[in-house]
Amino acid sequence: MKQSIFQILSNTPLTDSVYKMVLSGDTSAITAPGQFVNIQLSGMFLRRPISVCDWDDSSLTIVYKVVGRGTAAMAAMEPGQELDILTGLGNGYDLSLAGDKPVLLGGGVGVPPLYALAKALIAQGCQVSVILGFNTRKEIFFEEEFKALGCAVTVTTADGSYGVQGFATTPLGGMDYSYFYTCGPEPMLKAVYKATVTSGQMSFEERMGCGFGACMGCSCKTLTGYKRICKEGPVMKKEEILWQS
């Protein structure tokens, strides 16, 4: 973990409520896709945990949805403004288990961490399929970005206004995949848990106090003991999750 100051390079809307923010700063603590950062905002006590969408040696990209006071304040920020950020939080996805053709399933604002993951999997020679699930056409983002990486992309919408009508799990039936990675709201994760025929990894969300393992605010029970979503998570393996299929 590292605490450092980042400067906003750009902050642009991707949809009515989803924004992409690119920042420059020290990214050396970020070691794996699926990790998150924790952002201090003026006038708010708790930091806001946001997943890492992408990073390189000197820049960090986050994609966030405006859901409350904190993210609304972020949406109003301008390039040049500085943010105090804790980086390198959480375990991130384990790429070594992917096999040759993993499938990535993202639901809504669960899509962003899959971007750096797809990039890393392609770099290690995987043939990557991506399913992006949204409620409706105007909420879709990142379809082109994943295609540009070389992924086979399927978009689903719950109302059928674009792509395949249904959920992120709908196209899974006809697919041949070696492993899965997913991030999205909990009902979607449960559906992925049931629908998938291989092992895989899921990224979880919880309200956090610190984001680095000190407060025990985000604990959960797993088949391999109590875990902190912020420290031993947010990514859990399917085999350790306590849901019954």
Binding site: M1, Q3, Q40, M44, F45, L46, R47, G70, L86, E206, R207, M208, G209, C210, F212, G213, A214, C215, M216, G217, C218, S219, C220, K221, Y226, K231
Partner: protein, 305 residues
């Protein structure tokens, strides 16, 4: 040369800064960030007789000037704390540590304290009779003078180490409870634990916290903490540890003027992980600004009238 040392119940501290229980784990998360041996000491995660998962999530809520937590004393139980956590702690912290203990019966408190009494690295026992987040235990011992005294006597009977009773602010007369603990043999008083609070999500019309209520901490409770530390320090002869919303070197000095011998820093650790290191670094400069040569000289030094 600024003198930061204080004496807490017979054990010298290099400085009065102590990370509070529940905000510092068993130390090693923070030892990755800075050398935690610069601290006066720290109070480790509240430990109970048996292992506890704690409350369902969400356990955390944002508040103006702080946060609510309802963790519910998650800990591996005293046996595992001794066999697994303390050996790891020993690797990164070489000073006497403060063992924070909670219980659900007088016997629980005595059992856990007796075990921890045998650990050489434990300098003080901080006995939490004030956790707002567990039903039928914790705080109920801290809201009645006689119950708090009974826990104090039971713990004193099983340990020779200094016993510090950690009190709840969720009472009408904190002084009577502090005095009852002192009369029962307590070596020190620490206060304040969190204030019982609640937030409601307007969209779902449910409490943000799964356990409905939780403990409010952070800078918002600082004035209440200063007031209660002042009241208790005026009434007892034993040392008082002040805590509640402390976030700066100035806050440490204010707490000490109110009557605190040492000062715990809680919620601030969670959002500013280097805060205790920074406070210790800044203390000499802030002391100079207010013409303070030695911190022990200012304990209870608030002027009256």
């Amino acid at each position: 040369m600024a003198e930061l040392t204080v004496n807490l119940c017979g054990i010298p501290l290099d400085n009065p800064v102590i990370p509070a229980s529940g905000t510092f784990g068993y130390g090693y998360e923070f030892a990755e960030l800075y050398d935690i041996n610069i601290l006066g000491t720290f109070s480790f995660k509240g430990t109970t007789k048996d292992a506890r998962f704690g409350n369902p999530t969400p356990r955390i809520a944002e508040c103006p000037g702080g946060m609510i937590n309802a963790v519910g004393l998650q800990n591996p139980g005293v046996e595992k704390v001794i066999s697994q956590e303390l050996p790891k702690l020993k690797q990164c912290f070489h000073k006497p540590v403060m063992a924070n203990v909670s219980g659900f019966s007088v016997e629980d408190y005595a059992y856990t304290c007796e075990k921890l009494d045998k650990e050489p690295q434990v300098g003080w026992l901080e006995v939490n009779v004030s956790c707002p987040n567990v039903h039928g235990g914790g705080m109920s011992f801290g809201t009645e003078p006689e119950a708090a005294a009974e826990v104090t006597r039971a713990v004193k009977a099983v340990t020779a180490k200094p016993v510090i009773i950690k009190l709840s602010p969720n009472v009408t007369d904190i002084v009577s409870i502090a005095k009852a603990c002192e009369e029962a043999g307590a070596d020190g008083i620490s206060l304040i634990n969190t204030m019982l609070g609640m937030r409601i999500d307007l969209r779902t019309r449910r409490s943000v916290i799964a356990n409905t209520m939780g403990g409010y901490s952070g800078p918002g409770i600082f004035p209440v903490a200063v007031r209660m530390v002042y009241q208790v320090a005026q009434a007892v002869k034993i040392p008082v540890i002040g805590m509640g919303g402390v976030s700066s070197a100035e806050d440490v000095i204010e707490m000490m003027l109110a009557g605190a011998t040492a000062v715990e820093v809680g919620a601030a650790n969670l959002v500013r992980p280097y805060i205790c290191r920074d406070i210790i670094r800044e203390l000499p400069e802030v002391m100079a600004k207010y013409n303070i040569q030695s911190l022990s000289d200012i304990i209870g030094g608030v002027n009256h009238g």
